[in-house]
Every structure is written in structure tokens, then in C-alpha cells.
Symmetry: C2
Subunit: 362 residues, 2 copies
């Protein structure tokens, strides 16, 4: 039985991207690598809809968020952070580790702070230096619907604007230049459908000159050093070459499909997932206006045990989904709607969930 | 023409390891990943000759060194660092970025500090908290010959002992437990002959309890969090699965060959390289007693231009070698003697260098 990965990342990877990893080892200080890296940066500009710089770190998404934090926040600086789940909590903790003071704008888990709450925090903290926003809270399947408005609002008030779009960019269109986003972070293993291990950061012009003038607080994640090496299309440290090959091929796939088409596909497929699962009687963590297009977090019906359900879904149907986080642990399962997601994947997932729930006497 | 990668990392990778990267995507929070990770840690214990813990970060070698620094050095602490080239300089800089005070034990580039110098620094800085040593300076092809003595010496004096063995472990035997090494760092892309992108850190028992009691200074590189997740054989952040598959297979290759045999092979092959290159009239950066077994840094003969030589060696002979660093830039080329290195590779490299030098009228 063919396994279908319906995790909220890592996702299924096409054979074409998979095979790219086996391309020959080359010198990462040689011409062939420079061409590869330049291509990745140029293609990524299309993804971020930016004319600014893009850097690529060999790390997980969290590494990319820590990079953004360490390059943005100086000790003692105030940072506004909307908090609505595991990943935004984690972002706040990283700001604190970096010596920043978090102005947390909290909502209940399973909700998102309202735009009024966040605007209020901006207005009443005119001494804050930045705002850092998780766009899509992978732990609860909630995407904040006012990203554009809040970014523009904060930018007009001279805040540095950092957006964690790790699990959303490509499934959503986020034109970072026109929305006033200084740093936008995304991962290789989500809507790009490449293997995990790389993280991409877009940088506004202003941000680029800011980091260049600052004393670095990290060596591995020092953005200014990456920018310096990027002038000759190298990375300061040994890049993970197979992952760069794979990312390049995944970006080729993205360009061939077109960003708008990919975004529309994610929207359509998540619509199908939500409505089909709803017909099965399932309830979602997210209210309708907050529902994520890339992660569907669905409550278990009474009496369905998490571990049992997911094990059987994988073993009997070949479908791999994720469990819940924090207070939702054991109570929800999460389906990724990312990357290669298509009608066949959606139908196979829904019919398998349906069949299993019915076997389990729901 | 078959390309032969003779870089001081990344190295040639066997088909078997390469193919491992294409294994199916699995849930990194599921049983199959747990087995994979447990296997990697257990096999790595053989490599480090330790009964302690091992953590694996998705990052380059430098990321691993920064992880060791951030978990070891508290602001204001004194750290003894022998400095003899680019990578030990970099280590010192990372200690400073972390707020540590570096007691630099310097030698000329192309030399190494003597053991007396280093012992003197230990003796005259009884308030130092740790010593951090680059075992094998990849930039100059120098390996310090007194690693065991200095580690034991420092350990007896209650220093935390951190060794960067990124480009040496596996080509050298470094039994970390008996040598008193608290943290030993190695990379996937050197003597292990896996692709770049993972870094392994061995941890002594003492160190393990120390980091567990400390407030973390980084989230991505927080060793205590890795140890916590490791109890259930998971990583805190999404692991780069293809690289884990490759590392696992590379460790299988290591175990099949045996660590002692691999070390002996590196020793034999580097001996052949040094003596054959010497016969061509080449001179090395390193004095005989400091010569690295894994990186050979050789001066160009008068009149041979670096870029020209390396381009022709690659284009006409298919052999890829590296250039020099810092004050040796343009003056030396560096040959990696790592990983899959064998007699055929050595002979092909030497005869190609010989033929090219003779064409270039040396």
C-alpha cells in the first residue's frame, strides 16, 4: 500500500525533487554551486514577491525563526508578539532568550487575537522596536486573517515587521514588499514540498542595511555574513548540497505551476477537506474565519482514542496524519494540506478517515 | 570523465549512502523515525567511543561549534582557545559573541601552539572554566599531536573540555570518555562520508547534568532540550530526514569497516599522499610532526597560479581540490584525505597533479 503523508510538514516529495538530491557532489566554493545558489535566490524572489535579498540557512524552521530573532532584537528591546499556540509561544520564548521584552497579545488556544487587540498593543507600546507574527499556527490550524493589515499598520508606525510564514507561504500569497514585511521566514518542507532541512528568509532593503551595521549576536545565524558571502553567491558555511539541489528543483516545480495557481490549489483543496470532513460530523478547532488553508485541526469524536486512530489510519489505510499539541494533545488530529496536495490525496484521506471512524463505531 | 572530489569535505559519497536519501518520507514523531534516530545515536557511540549521550543537529559544522559554545560558556567566563588558523579563530570569535573572555594561545599560521604553551595557559588561568580546542585545523592541514595529553591535563584541572573534531573524527581515533572530553563535535560530511548538513556532539555525563541545570541561551541549539526529546528518541525540531537516512547508512558503512580499520586507512592513505606529493617536489604548510591525516595543505611551486591550477585540474582531470585560506590564499591548495579515500583516489590525484604541473612547466 502506497503511503500518503498528510502531515502538516514534512510533506510528500515528488520523485523529481527526490532524485535531485542524488546529483553529484560539487565544490561549494566553485562555479557550479554559485549558479545553483543564485538560481535558488532568484526563484525564491518570485515566491516572496520581493526585490529584496533572500538568505537560506541549513536548519529547521525553528532555526530560521531564531535567526530572525537574534538579528532583529537587541537586549532590552520591546517586541510585540501575538500568541495563539505552540509556535507563537515558542517565538515569544526565543525573543526572551535573546534578551527582548515580549509584549504578548494573547488569545485562548484555538482562537487568535483580534486585529483590534494587536493594533492596541502597537498603539500603546510606541517604544516597541518590532512586531513578530506567526501567520499560520500549525499547532491549532489557525491562520490570522488580517496579516496584510497588521503588517502595514505596524510598518507605518516604524516597527520592524517579522512574519513566520513557515507553514503557509506558497499556500498563501504573501507579497512581502507591498505588505511591509521586513523578514519573512519559510521552510523547505511545507508548501514548497521539498525535504526538511532548509529555511528561507526574505529581507527588506531597510532590514538589510540595518543588519549590516550591527554587531552580530550569533555566528551561524548571522544574516550580515550570509549577505556578504552572497555577493559571490556562496554561503559562509558548508551548505547541505543535496537539500539545495532538492530546493532548486522544488522551486522549478513552483515556477512551472505558477505561484497564483499553487495558492489557488491550496485554497481549493483545503475547502474540499473542510467541507468533506464536516459532512462526516467532525468539528474543527478553528472558527470559520480563522481556518488555515494548510493545516486542518479536527477534534476527535467522543470515544475515539488518538494513538489508536492514527496508528490504524497509517497501518490500515496508509495515511499519515499528526496529533495535537499542548492542551489539544489527544483531542485533535491534524491534516496537512500542503505542497503536492491534490484532489486524489484529499479524497483518499477523507474516505479513509470515514471508513476508519465507522469501523471504530463512531 | 568521472569527477573525484578531493576536498577537505564535503567528500565523495557512496551510492549506497546517496540512495538512502530517497527512502520514503515518514512521520518524525512516529515509531519508524524513533528507530532510525536510536540507531544513529547507538552507532555514533562507537565512533566517539563513548557511553555518554550524543545529539544530532541539522546544521553545518560551524552550527555545531556554536551550539557547544552557547551551551558551555556563560557571559564573563574565561575560555582557553589554542588558535592556529581560520577555524580556531572562528571558534574564539564565537566564544566572544557568547560573552566569554578568550585566553588565546596563538601560534603563527602554519604552526600550532606547543603543548607547553597550552599547559602554561591552563596553569596561569586557574579561573578559566573551559578549554576549547580545534583538533584539526582544516585551513592549514595541521592536527595538534598532543590532543590526548592536553585534554587529560585540562580535565584534571576541572576545566570543561570541548574538542572540535569536525574534520578529523573517524580519520583519527578519539576515545572521548577516556581522554576526558566533555563535548566532541564532528560533521557528517568529513570522515563519515555522508552529505553535509548534520553535526554530531558527544556529551560526557558531567556535561549532560550541567546543561540540564542551566537556563538555555539558544532555543535551536539548546542541548538540554535535545536530551529531553531524546528520551523518546525524537528531536525537538523537524529533523532533515534524508540526511538522517544518509547518516545512518554512512554509520553502517563505518561499522562494517570497523573504526580501527577506517582510522588505519586514513593514516595509510595520507602517508601515501604526503610521500608522493613530496616526490613531485611539493612542500607542505605543516611541519612533519603536525601534518594532518585528513587535510594536506601544499604550497604551489613558484609561478603556478591558484585559480588556473584548480580550474584545469578539475576540467582536464576531473579532480576537485580546495584553495587556501587567509594568508595562504592563492599560495596553497588543499587535498582532502577523508571518508571513502582509497589507493585509487590517491593515485589518480597524484598522477593528475603531476601531469598538470608538468604541463604548466613546473
Amino acid at each position: 500500500m502506497d503511503r500518503l503523508i498528510m502531515l502538516p510538514g514534512p510533506t510528500n516529495v515528488s520523485d523529481r525533487v527526490m532524485n535531485a538530491m542524488s546529483r553529484p557532489v560539487i565544490n561549494h566554493r566553485g562555479e557550479a554551486f554559485r549558479e545553483l545558489y543564485r538560481g535558488i535566490v532568484e526563484k525564491s524572489r518570485h515566491l516572496f514577491q520581493t526585490e529584496g535579498e533572500i538568505v537560506v540557512f541549513s536548519s529547521s524552521g525553528t532555526g530560521g525563526v531564531e535567526a530572525a530573532v537574534l538579528n532583529t532584537v537587541m537586549p532590552g528591546e520591546k517586541v510585540i508578539v501575538p500568541i495563539m499556540g505552540e509556535f507563537s509561544e515558542r517565538l515569544g520564548e526565543m525573543v526572551e532568550i535573546a534578551g527582548g521584552k515580549v509584549v504578548a497579545v494573547r488569545s485562548e488556544q484555538g482562537e487568535a487575537p483580534s486585529i483590534e487587540q494587536v493594533k492596541h498593543a502597537v498603539d500603546s507600546n510606541s517604544d516597541a522596536s518590532s512586531i513578530m507574527i506567526v501567520h499560520n499556527e500549525t499547532s491549532t490550524g489557525i491562520a490570522i486573517p488580517y496579516l496584510r493589515d497588521i503588517c502595514n499598520y505596524a510598518k507605518e508606525r516604524n516597527l520592524k515587521v517579522v512574519v513566520d510564514a513557515i507553514s503557509s507561504l506558497g499556500g498563501y500569497s504573501i507579497p512581502v514588499d507591498s505588505w511591509g514585511i521586513d523578514v519573512c521566514i519559510t521552510g523547505s518542507q511545507k508548501c514548497l514540498a521539498a525535504p526538511p532541512g532548509l529555511v528561507l528568509l526574505s529581507l527588506s532593503r531597510e532590514y538589510t542595511s540595518m543588519v549590516r551595521s550591527r554587531k552580530p549576536r550569533t555566528r551561524y545565524f548571522d544574516i550580515s555574513r550570509y549577505l556578504e558571502y552572497q555577493k559571490k553567491w556562496e554561503t559562509p558555511f558548508t551548505p547541505s548540497l543535496p537539500l539545495f539541489y532538492a530546493l532548486d528543483e522544488a522551486l522549478n516545480e513552483l515556477l512551472e505551476e505558477g505561484l497564483a495557481a499553487r495558492v489557488a490549489r491550496h485554497e481549493r483543496m483545503s475547502g474540499m477537506l473542510y467541507s468533506s470532513l464536516e459532512k462526516l460530523g467532525l468539528k474543527f478547532v478553528a472558527r470559520e474565519d480563522l481556518r488555515s488553508r494548510t493545516v486542518i485541526a479536527s477534534y476527535y469524536p467522543e470515544g475515539i482514542e488518538d494513538r489508536d486512530f492514527r496508528t490504524r489510519l497509517e497501518q490500515e489505510y496508509g495515511i499519515v496524519v499528526a496529533g495535537g499539541f499542548g492542551k489539544f494533545s489527544g483531542k485533535v488530529f491534524r491534516i496537512g494540506c500542503m505542497g503536492l496536495i491534490n484532489q486524489e490525496y484529499v479524497e483518499r484521506t477523507v474516505t479513509s478517515v470515514e471508513a476508519l471512524l465507522s469501523k471504530m463505531k463512531f
